[in-house]
């Protein structure tokens, strides 16, 4: 999967459009080793070629340029990625969140975000005489 420099992200798609990659499939983000990255797939419908591109977001600003001016369908997915990962898409006009009613809490899809429901309900698999953690929760969740 081609990884490109975050400053080249939007420019790469601008260039891909001139090569016939006019169909936008999806855009989302992922977190690896504490670093957020965006990932998107575009398709050239004439040649049936598809490209999956990724770029780390700027770590200081947590931001990357929008591609919504190139692909109209990217607006919805950039809005979703912004509200779920806290990434700022520079140049994205419509920044209204889709599902979250309050933007005060941490973006829910960051690995460091603890799910409140899992804090409130004890894991039923926790044996009284052994220390065992359920998968997918932070190390100190029992103490928190």
């Amino acid at each position: 999967m081609p990884e490109i420099e975050s400053v080249l992200w939007a420019g790469e798609f601008r260039s891909l459009r001139t090569q016939g990659f006019l169909f936008f499939d999806f855009l989302t983000a992922y977190e690896r080793d504490g670093q957020l990255a965006v990932i998107a797939r575009v398709v050239n419908l004439d040649t049936k070629q598809s490209l999956l591109l990724t770029a780390k977001v700027d770590a200081d600003q947590n931001s990357i340029a929008t591609i919504s001016d190139l692909y109209a369908g990217a607006v919805w997915q950039e809005r979703e990625t912004a509200e779920m990962f806290g990434i700022k898409f520079i140049g994205l006009g419509d920044t209204r969140p889709l599902l979250r009613r309050s933007m005060l809490a941490r973006p829910p899809l960051l690995k460091s975000s603890v799910l409140a429901a899992r804090m409130l309900k004890p894991w039923p698999g926790q044996p009284s005489h052994r220390k065992q953690q359920p998968v997918g929760v932070v190390d100190d969740w029992l103490q928190a």
Binding site: K121, W123, P124, G125, P127, Q132, P134
Partner: protein, 124 residues
């Protein structure tokens, strides 16, 4: 209305518990993706005639499935090493409250009434 004839015997309707087969190993509880199973047990010493030392066995005190949460994936049924859990095609257990969907040992055992003992063959 009865359990429909057109329903396969092992369709994911409800989970029947055979409490005497359960060893309280907790595998179902831990593997449940939605945390809908709870189990309580205590250890008892059993002395068998002729045995040198007493043996410790787990005795099941409580076992509940919250069918309000259950996603009917069947991981608990598949993983149970002792076949204490089995699918039954019954569906008629809607309740007047969310708490009414939490079933304990006696309710879960009652689904065994029409337990199909035929071998589980996927796709049959």
């Amino acid at each position: 209305m009865t359990t429909g004839d057109r329903m396969p015997a092992h369709s994911h309707g409800v989970i029947a518990l055979t409490a005497s087969a359960c060893t309280s190993c907790m595998i179902c509880v831990r593997e449940c993706p939605v945390w809908c199973i709870e189990l309580e047990c205590h250890d008892e010493e059993v002395t068998e005639p002729g045995a040198r030392r007493p043996r410790t066995v787990s005795v099941l005190d409580a076992f509940t499935i919250d069918y309000g949460l259950c996603m009917y994936c069947g991981i608990c049924v598949d993983l149970c090493p002792f076949d204490a859990l089995a699918w039954q095609p019954d569906f008629d257990y809607a309740a007047g409250s969310a708490a009414g969907l939490v079933q304990g040992i006696s309710e879960l055992e009652s689904w065994r009434n029409n337990l199909d003992e035929s071998p589980k063959v996927s796709g049959s």
